[in-house]
Symmetry: C2
Subunit: 634 residues, 2 copies
Amino acid sequence: MSAFKPVRFVDVHLEGDFWRERLETVLTRTIPSQHIQLSAHGILEALTLPNPPPPLRFPRNHHNFTVQVFWDSDVGKWIEAASYALSHRRDADIESKIEDITDKLERAQAPDGYVNCWYLQREPDKRWTNLRDNHELYNLGHLLEGGIAYFLATGRRRLLGILERYVEHVRTTFGPGPNQKRGYCGHQEIELALIRLYHLTGERKHLDLASYFINERGRQPHYFDEEARRRDEDPKDFWAKSYEYNQSHMPVREQTKVVGHAVRAMYMYTAMADLAAVLKDDSLKRTLEVLWADVISSKMYITSGLGPAEANEGFTEDYDLPNETAYAETCASVALIFWAQRMLHLDLSGKYADVMEQALFNGALTGLARDGQHYFYSNPLESDGRHSRWAWHHCPCCTMNSSRLVASVGSYFLSRSDEAIAFHLYGGISATVRLAGGQVALREVSAYPWSGDIRIEVKPETPFAFDLKLRIPGWTRNATASVNGTPVSVEQGTKDGYLTIARRWQAGDVVALELPMPAQRIYAHPAVRMDVGRVALKRGPLVYCVEEADNPGGPVQRLKLPRQSTVKPERRADLFGGIVTLTADATRLQDNGWQNTLYRSDPPAETPTTVTALPYYLWANRGAGSMLVWLPES
Amino acid sequence: MSAFKPVRFVDVHLEGDFWRERLETVLTRTIPSQHIQLSAHGILEALTLPNPPPPLRFPRNHHNFTVQVFWDSDVGKWIEAASYALSHRRDADIESKIEDITDKLERAQAPDGYVNCWYLQREPDKRWTNLRDNHELYNLGHLLEGGIAYFLATGRRRLLGILERYVEHVRTTFGPGPNQKRGYCGHQEIELALIRLYHLTGERKHLDLASYFINERGRQPHYFDEEARRRDEDPKDFWAKSYEYNQSHMPVREQTKVVGHAVRAMYMYTAMADLAAVLKDDSLKRTLEVLWADVISSKMYITSGLGPAEANEGFTEDYDLPNETAYAETCASVALIFWAQRMLHLDLSGKYADVMEQALFNGALTGLARDGQHYFYSNPLESDGRHSRWAWHHCPCCTMNSSRLVASVGSYFLSRSDEAIAFHLYGGISATVRLAGGQVALREVSAYPWSGDIRIEVKPETPFAFDLKLRIPGWTRNATASVNGTPVSVEQGTKDGYLTIARRWQAGDVVALELPMPAQRIYAHPAVRMDVGRVALKRGPLVYCVEEADNPGGPVQRLKLPRQSTVKPERRADLFGGIVTLTADATRLQDNGWQNTLYRSDPPAETPTTVTALPYYLWANRGAGSMLVWLPES
């Protein structure tokens, strides 16, 4: 196993235009507006205990479930996102808001350490009676991630302390001991949060508890069966029918297929990969490699969207990737980034970095509108114009997943080992990385993802030898590189998608990397029945789509792209602060002569037109209109 | 208005192979097996009163609804189907079963005439409290249609008498009077049944009650609002959100768009057309013409399927016709046949007959398996192999709609006025029709729908003049005709899709009609985004599909049909007792080189193949496999 580790988000600064714009938007608009929404929707108020609970805003559905049980997690994710924001720029107002939440949690905390505002307020005698459905440990996981981020950004430890006391209660409650519950959470999240806590504190007990939750999952007798019986329910009445839904259908090491709820799966794999790295657990690593191959080779949209079905918010059959009805929850793409990054730390391989980048630019970014205050929960690859961004959602999980990802995106650019620095992403950052031989200041300058011209300044505090590893994306061909103007053979120096430049570096060294970024036509495996006869357009890491705003004259579904047509990149300073569009000669189906006719034996006439495609992540920012990723190819 | 009227099913005999096979299957297998299923599923048992009601087989769902409330209707529809069967061949066993049901209904009937086994058994004090959801009048409608058919087939009037007493109770209960409920049924059906009763008995009061229900529908203050408040419910909590669901969102004459639950809509339009004909109500007729144009021009699958969405079992947006997820309930296509026939009696126009035929061969027939004992409820136009026929359904409405349609299909072949006989369908029948000038025996001989060569023997009891009107289907070109060998100009003699041959007919006259039936490529309006770049195949009235059984080697979704490829009809004696398939040179996408690859920049290789299509109504009779109606055209 490679010994690569993440570079913390506080050590990476975003300088490139692309990410500065997103970051500024998140800092100035998303984080404050999310606090307003959390307040307006009663989510913050629900933290105030004791408090006569108001009527449910979201009455229990026919599965006896209300989204309000995981409101604590929404607060935790907002704290995490806000804390990442604070690491870029301190903000007294935001900090006082987090302190206020901390006050509430402190008051709410039970003498034994338990903190769950739903249960404490409404059903204090029912805590830990429905791990399958009610997200208690999931909530703790997100609060814990928030508490850790807040501590890292500000040095304040009070919130984290509350949560550490809660973790101690959880450790007492769950485990294989005679007076413990052999349970685990229906929605994975606590596991990866505990590993974060381990990395922060170095306390082995947190790693052990995460391991316990992962290892116990899916064992027989099944905890969720027993728990249901204790509630006087028949386990067979589980609304999702199968424990595949929460990946507890079998012990995790026996799993070979990616199934069930997509976000749960991704959070679990993230924790498993963390454990595999820390514990050097080859059985977990091999399991993850099988699961990775399964999802990447048969279950992922070209946009990195995961989980086609709304019914289980998750996976169905291999190659079942409907476009217009794609669920592809934003959270799942964000979580895929988490998992991919962890896989990179098990094996520094471009196959993981390619997917991480694909998910970042086409999955996660899509979830957040340009204005920073509107969102996508599901991410279809086709729309008749009815799919639009919303200002809030009754299940607001995706909103804060978008903001915490953008505010911490720097942490996905680099990894380090004792003797090497690896660049996974490009786009304009500066960072300080400590290696065994000393500290290295780095500056990467580029207009990525619009251009593949990259310049990296390497500045060790004193000259010393280490490896600089530069990702050569899977989508490029004939990349070139040089150090201080002297060419480096990319072909010979690249293994598993990374070009290694080993030398004694000294201040003033400059690496130039050129990643050709032509427009590409992409085809899907012929088993993806929805995409037969269709083509998608990509350039660099970006998947493109055709939107009505750039192609007026009717629904974009009437466009056809001839295979012979040349697809040309075009710089457009007038769009979204400057982007690259793709244009090509195409045809448009005409509806003249079709009045009152639904079917006929003459095909519709086609007239020449130019099709303009823009990056998928930018769609639905200019009002309602049709959109299409997979174009019929003629 | 034309004065055309139906020819009753008892006066038309099926002689052609195509319909004899279906009829024999329904008589010998479907009707008996449906009785067994009704018994096995507790539906017949539920008629036995008084009876301690067993636990619900279908517990109330989260809308507080159980399908058991309309079990009476399933019994009514079975009686109707069985009675049509008896008109072809009496059967003492079937008749004793209907008598047994009659005994039960007679015992169940309340002193005031009310008969609804659900309410009488379980909630006797709640009758008429939830017309919106609970189908009481709908049940009566279907029982009434059954009672009428049974009387016509056997002369037995006991069942009909029970139902007539129930109708009297309904007449007392509903209406504009001071002590009456101004209600109507959430699921239309009673209206068309009452008109049937009017036609049978000549009693104007039944027509008036049907008129009342139609005219009251959608008026303000809204009955379903008031009724909900009487149940202490907020009318806004109606689960379907809008009264469009049951077409009571506005008075019927103000409706211009086909909306909501497809079967309810079709049953209502059928009754409206009946009323328009009897009452010479031009406002109703004009409304129906607008609604007809709306559904036909933007909301009907090529198979005649109606209602793309499962959520409301009904209509969505114009041109929203997804193929794989098409709901297209069998009942809706059956009901479209009812409506189209009624429209024919308002205006003898081929546009109605074309749709009636299309719905018959591609919608209604599809719902019944070759074995006569398996069914389709929804009728997608594409399948990955997971959509299969079932032996019964928790909501068995479609099963008896299929059988009653096939057993009475003769009644859709012909209409008559005082001086004319109109042929709408062909396929081998004999019939006796009474005109003002006397009785006419007819014999139509053809291998339709496999061949368009039709021979009609016309035999008036004495020679007299009348018009013979022969439908020239919209799908044919260059039809030819002759009388006793003398050519008749089809072009000059055809108006609105009917060729009129006016002469003094005498026994021995023979008409020959030749309807050329080439294979056709059909394209959808370019606004049907799902079908852009795709083509469907038709021949005569039959829509074809490509099924894996005839095209082994992987999913049929990997086939592409070049536009230049000639589509050839081929007689296949080996398939389903002899059918015509369509074959063409095509290509198949290959997946070699795609292992572990979901997306790539090279398109899949294509290899030449021959594609074989078979009539859509025959699909899914040879085990699980993929199916496709709309093929990608290259």
